[in-house]
């Protein structure tokens, strides 16, 4: 992905500079700090439509916080504070976002860093006090089979007055592991940032490595097929999960059955249930034969049909509709302020889709509609997912139609400098940013869509009852591992 504009800015003016662009319609995609000698650099990646701007600002150990001007920058600056030890002055809420430990130095520093003398930062209590207000801590080991995360609800009776989400348990230091010589096996690591979005993460990483290389038409189409297969199975999982959480057992079983059939088809056609190992820098690993294509067609048609039937199960059950509608409302205003992306933003009326705004691989040659709803409740998010499955089926069929024979991989050379890999993952806009110097990855930043969507959930659950939290959580369908990297 080519950066259309790259500027440098004085740290004192950074907040104002970003704010000026923000008012002109630029959105913060990612924000991170990297070490340079001397001091450090704060990087801000902005996007407006198909334009991508990279702002760098050399700082020593502190700078005026962007959060003071733009609330959406809050979570990024919390990470900058704990991972790079740079103080965003005037931020106001610098509790750890993912690391939760403090030692001598900082975890992303170049050279040795000892975690042996670190101390754990205790998780703070909620600020809510009052008669009859009690606090419910949940996690990190949950009742279901999900990833680790800690939630603190403040409730008076049933309604939730306040929710604090504390993540970081799945922090594995992937950004640090990514550093080093550019090598094709980095993509194996990228696939394991969030296992259910393996294709999207691998694609973002591949886009960075490939630079300007022209990927063969056939490989680009297979990449779209892989991305859309992943989208279908993720969305099916969320919709089936909503049915499980509301005890609509028949629909839940049906949904998980449809998904299992799709995962089995993935294994038959692509050799892996979760599609790992298919994207390689410069193309794709496996070509599709005529037999594969016919299997693929029947698999996606069945999945598309299954999604429709699943939706009708939900719509025909008044108690289910009652449970889903008006639950967990995220207003359009909040969606914009938090900088939410993907399904969550689209269900709240914010139309944004990387596939049409910054077309990558073969998306530029294909036509599709962007699913959108206005209400921003659990039902709206389920409906957006259901519609997207239909669009994904259509995209896969378009790709398969008149797919020409040809090469599936090409040679590439990774250019030095800043680059971005931007992909619409099943969860939304996914950004990998890299600073490559002399063929070595100097700094690699991963911004999973979950990272910007998690804080929005704190607002969406407000005034809902505690038992509806799992439902709202599932409707967001966020990754813990992708957030914590």
């Amino acid at each position: 992905m080519i950066i259309t504009d790259s500027t440098s800015c004085d740290p004192v003016l950074l907040a104002q500079y970003v704010k000026t662009h923000y008012d002109e319609g630029w959105k913060i995609m990612s924000m991170f700090a990297s070490e340079s000698s001397p001091g450090a650099t704060v990087n801000v990646v902005l996007r407006r439509g198909g334009e991508v701007m990279w702002i760098t600002s050399d700082v020593t150990d502190s700078y005026p916080a962007v959060t003071a001007q733009i609330p959406a920058a809050s979570v990024f600056e919390r990470v900058i504070y704990e991972m790079n030890d740079i103080n965003p002055e005037g931020h106001g809420n610098l509790i750890p976002a993912i690391y939760w430990r403090k030692g001598d130095g900082h975890p992303l520093q170049k050279g040795p860093y000892s975690i042996g003398d670190e101390i754990r930062i205790p998780i703070p209590n909620n600020p809510i006090r009052g008669t009859g207000v009690f606090e419910i801590p949940v996690g990190p080991v949950h009742a279901g089979v999900i990833e680790p995360g800690h939630f603190r609800f403040s409730a008076a009776g049933e309604p939730i007055l306040h929710l604090s989400i504390h993540l970081g348990y799945a922090h594995k230091g992937i950004e640090k592991l990514m550093e080093g010589p550019v090598s094709r096996n980095r993509i194996n690591l990228a696939e394991r940032i969030s296992g259910d979005n393996a294709v999207a993460h691998a694609l973002a990483c591949a886009h960075i490595m490939e630079g300007d290389a022209e990927i063969p038409e056939r490989a680009r189409r297979i990449r779209v097929i892989l991305s859309e297969m992943e989208r279908i199975h993720n969305h099916l999982d969320v919709i089936a999960g909503l049915c499980t959480d509301t005890a609509l057992s028949v629909a839940a079983s049906y949904g998980s059955e449809v998904r299992e059939e799709l995962l089995r088809a993935n294994r038959e056609i692509f050799g892996s249930r979760l599609l790992t190992g298919n994207i390689i820098p410069g193309g794709v690993r496996k070509d599709l034969t005529g037999e594969d294509l016919s299997k693929l067609e029947s698999a996606v048609m069945r999945a598309g049909f299954g999604a429709k039937k699943l939706e009708s199960y939900i719509r025909k059950t008044p108690s289910e509709v009652d449970r889903l509608e008006t639950t967990g409302v995220l207003s359009k205003e909040s969606a914009l302020n938090y900088g939410t992306v993907g399904v969550i933003a689209r269900a709240s009326g914010v139309i944004s889709d990387i596939r049409s705004e910054v077309p990558y691989d073969a998306y530029g040659d294909l036509s599709f509609n962007i699913a959108c709803r206005k209400k921003g409740d659990v039902m709206a998010r389920a409906a957006v997912r259901s519609d997207e499955i239909t669009e994904s089926v259509s995209l896969i069929l378009q790709c398969m139609k008149d797919m020409r024979e040809g090469e599936i991989r090409t040679d590439f050379e990774t250019p030095d400098g800043f680059s971005c890999g931007i992909v619409e993952s099943p969860r939304g806009e996914l950004v990998h940013s890299a600073d490559i110097r002399d063929g070595e990855i100097w700094r690699y930043n991963i911004r999973d869509p979950s990272f910007v969507n998690w804080p929005a959930m704190e607002t969406a659950v407000m005034n809902n009852i505690v038992p509806d939290f799992p439902l709202i959580n599932k409707s967001f369908g966020l990754s813990y591992s992708g957030n914590d990297v």
Binding site: V141, V145, P148, N185, L189, R192, G277
Partner: protein, 239 residues
């Protein structure tokens, strides 16, 4: 897999079901099949350093993430896919070389422990920072295709109700304390199963912000299940 290694947990009167009927395909692992001239291409490409040449061509299945890059990289095409074993009771049983080729898993967990656990199995899944692919597959075990409930295997909400901890993930530093508390909260006798490459050896995250190399460094493991992620039918299969 659980069925086989923790045998006799479920009444033998229940109908048998073969792996084939569950739609299983064997998990394939890379293994040397032809002549190896020790060029070292596969060692260099392997993202988890699972392959070594110091004592002949050796692969550690506990480290392998099944990316198959070694097969692509081999100039003599000497590496091919062979069926991987289902499980191992000790870590060393996952290391294979020319003189010790992969074979069908055998043996069961300590008989006293199996007897004490009784006739059904309550599992607490413990995620110590996995990439969530293992969770996807554990969730799939409950879908109508596998439906592990019919074998008496169920996922329970609390470690206090569990006979077995099914541990995924590389044991991150942030999660280690909660994981150990979960381990302590599980009543004895308990079985601990390390599921997936991360839990066995740390896998691709072994050099990251994790505690030890796999969960065996923090808790006693009874069973290792290789795979990245291991397919679901390997858990609920009985024969």
């Amino acid at each position: 897999m659980i069925r086989k290694s923790l045998s006799n947990l479920v009444s033998s009167k229940r109908p048998a079901e073969s792996l084939e009927k569950m739609g299983s395909r064997p998990l394939m692992m890379p293994f040397i099949s032809g002549e190896c001239d020790s060029c070292g291409e596969c060692v260099g490409i392997c993202p988890t350093r699972a392959i070594s040449l110091s004592d002949g061509w050796t692969i550690d299945l506990g480290k392998c993430i099944f990316c198959m890059d070694c097969i692509d990289s081999c100039p003599g095409s000497s590496i091919s896919k062979v069926p991987a074993p289902l499980y191992a009771l000790i870590r060393e049983d996952l290391i294979f070389s020319g003189s010790k080729p992969p074979k069908e898993s055998e043996g069961t967990v300590d008989a006293d422990k199996v007897k004490a656990l009784g006739s059904s199995m309550a599992i607490r899944e413990l995620d110590t920072g996995s990439c969530n692919a293992c969770e996807v597959e554990v969730n799939c075990m409950s879908n109508p295709y596998y439906d592990m409930g019919r074998f008496g295997i169920k996922i329970v909400a609390s470690p206090r109700h569990a006979d077995m901890l099914l541990v995924t993930g590389p044991m991150t530093n942030n999660m280690s304390r909660a994981a150990l508390e979960t381990f302590d909260a599980t009543p004895s006798p308990k079985a601990v199963v390390a599921m997936g490459t991360c839990a066995i050896s740390g896998g691709i995250f072994a050099e990251g912000d994790v505690l030890g190399k796999g969960i065996k460094d923090t808790m006693a493991v009874d069973l290792f299940i290789p795979g990245c992620p291991p397919p679901p039918e390997r858990f609920c299969w009985r024969y």
